[in-house]
């Protein structure tokens, strides 16, 4: 198909545009599309961005009545560090600073679940220097889990071993905190 604009080059961009509710089919070559300022997939960071902003706005658009009444209170959610409002975050799809995660915490679980296939908690790496006792705490949690299973299965020797291990690690954390 030939580009409908220059009538010479091969059209490479085919899309439907809706202008004032009217559908218009467009067939353009790269050059003309660029000249006309049409977005070419891949030439900018359009997709995820817009998609995400759509996701974040879902509860506002589809907001049921309950939600609307709660939102009717003129108390907009704002990050007290960088001043970003939740509304703006939802529009841009980007946080303003690390503290926004705390400021918008109450609303984040459903969003993160949607973006990360049902996950809202970190389960990966912890920074060595500043992660503090988190690595050890993770280990303790895991041991506690095993402890529960071994008690359920009446493996008491194993349970005692795990209990000692947990105590040792807990001691480590306490000592570490005292030193710090």
């Amino acid at each position: 198909m030939i580009c409908q604009e220059c009538q010479t080059r091969q059209a490479t961009l085919h899309f439907t545009k809706i202008i004032n509710g009217k559908k218009a089919e467009m067939h353009l070559c790269d050059e003309c599309a660029r000249d006309k300022g049409e977005q070419i997939p891949g030439s900018n960071s359009y997709s995820i961005h817009e998609l995400l902003s759509g996701l974040l706005n879902v509860d506002q658009i589809s907001g049921n009545n309950e939600f609307k009444t709660s939102r009717a209170e003129p108390e907009p959610l704002v990050c007290d560090q960088c001043g970003l409002t939740y509304e703006r975050f939802a529009k841009v799809g980007r946080f303003g600073c690390a503290h926004c995660y705390k400021a918008f915490d109450a609303k984040l679980d459903p969003i993160l679940n949607r973006v990360h296939s049902g996950n809202d908690r970190h389960a990966g790496k912890v920074p060595k220097r500043t992660g503090g006792t988190m690595q050890v705490q993770r280990e303790i949690e895991k041991l506690r889990e095993s402890l529960r299973t071994s008690i359920e299965q009446e493996e008491f020797e194993e349970a005692a071993r795990l209990r000692d291990q947990i105590r040792e690690l807990e001691g480590k954390i306490q000592n570490g905190e005292e030193e710090a």
Partner: protein, 359 residues
């Protein structure tokens, strides 16, 4: 400048050191970590002054971290480059289009062999990328972890127990890691099996993209498979899942190549040699055609039909025939039509070079 010299400068050293594991199908492996500093607003919302501070702070602190075998990282500030020079860096996959076009006080720190690039003031304060030849996810993760540990000793990251490494975009939070594998899948495309495989891959929390990332169209049968999810799984598990899928795709591509060669060898030979002929003789070549023909020739090399050409030719010419590179080589701005002529000439010249090397 001679073409040989231009290429030697244009192609990243890490790409030239021979083929990596499974390089008949996997061109490269990339691990990217997104990190932010604790007490600074994220780049998109930071003032110019703050961004400048971040740039100074991070580039100074990270200047001494060991990023590969030889030598220190080199700092390149976006403000010091022309539009076309920045495009060249994008075409080499060393920086993102976002850093080139939208960043304020954006910069990149490059290792001498260009296998490590650390972008500063991109969407996040720090984006560390390491590139590897062929299929090397475990090695990649291991290396990236070490690089990250070194950086973490120098700067304080924004990290939260609940959400992990905090990023500007909620799609990166948690591990901040994007692991991706660049694959050449001509046989799966030819046999139309890829259409069947792609939806399955998407269901596993992985995405498939064209070679220039998000939203880009697949060119030259090259596909980038990477993890979509960054939260709720450990880096190791993410890489393990990706590895499993990529391994299967490799097997399927190999088996499709085998089937094609058994059932229609002469048609395959015709296809690859036709493309070879076109690359050697054309006078005008659009980018789309070039990548298609290059893919055919690369397949011909991998199927042992075409001899005496390095398999690197696809990787190399895919990059060299991009618009900014062509303009760089020409030393001036070119119209689309002029580029098509230059592209054809450059490919012909490159093919000649190959023959000389052989003799």
């Amino acid at each position: 400048m001679s073409l040989q010299r231009f290429i030697s400068q244009a192609i990243s050293p890490w790409m030239k050191s021979g083929p990596g594991p499974d390089s008949d199908i996997v061109l490269s492996t990339r691990i990217r970590l997104a990190r932010n500093l604790k007490n600074y607003p994220f780049p998109i919302f930071a003032s110019s002054d703050v961004s400048e501070q971040v740039l100074r702070h991070v580039s100074e602190e990270l200047s001494t971290i060991p990023a590969g075998a030889d030598g220190a990282l080199e700092l390149l500030k976006m403000d010091d480059f022309s539009f076309n020079e920045k495009r060249v860096l994008v075409e080499k996959h060393l920086i993102s289009p976002h850093l080139a076009e939208h960043s304020r006080h954006g910069a990149v720190m490059l290792s001498p062999d260009e296998s490590v690039s650390i972008m500063l003031n991109e969407e996040d304060h720090i984006r560390m990328q390491s590139l590897f030849r062929g299929f090397q996810l475990d090695e990649g993760l291991d290396f990236s972890n070490k690089l990250d540990d070194c950086a973490e000793e120098k700067v304080t990251y924004a990290f939260d127990e609940k959400r992990g490494y905090l990023t500007s975009c909620p799609t990166n939070v948690g591990t901040g890691m994007r692991a991706s594998v660049m694959m050449h899948l001509p046989a799966l495309v030819m046999t139309q099996q890829l259409n069947r495989i792609l939806p399955a891959i998407n269901q596993l929390g992985l995405v498939v993209r064209g070679i220039y990332g998000e939203g880009s169209e697949a060119q030259g049968n090259l596909f980038q498979i990477s993890n979509q999810m960054t939260l709720g799984k450990s880096e190791e598990d993410i890489v393990e899942d990706l590895k499993g899928v990529v391994t299967q795709v490799i097997q399927q591509e190999r088996s499709a190549r085998g089937t094609l060669m058994r059932s229609s060898r002469i048609q395959m030979e015709d296809k690859v040699f036709r493309s070879y002929g076109l690359l050697k003789n054309s006078r005008v070549m659009e980018s789309k055609e070039a990548t298609k023909r290059l893919s055919d020739v690369r397949l011909g090399i991998d199927l042992d039909l075409i001899h005496g050409i390095s398999g690197n030719i696809l990787n190399e010419l895919m990059i060299l025939t991009q618009p900014a590179f062509l303009q760089q080589y020409a030393g001036k701005e070119l119209s689309a039509d002029e580029r098509d002529v230059r592209r054809a000439a450059l490919i012909r010249e490159r093919m000649e070079l190959e023959k000389e090397n052989e003799e």
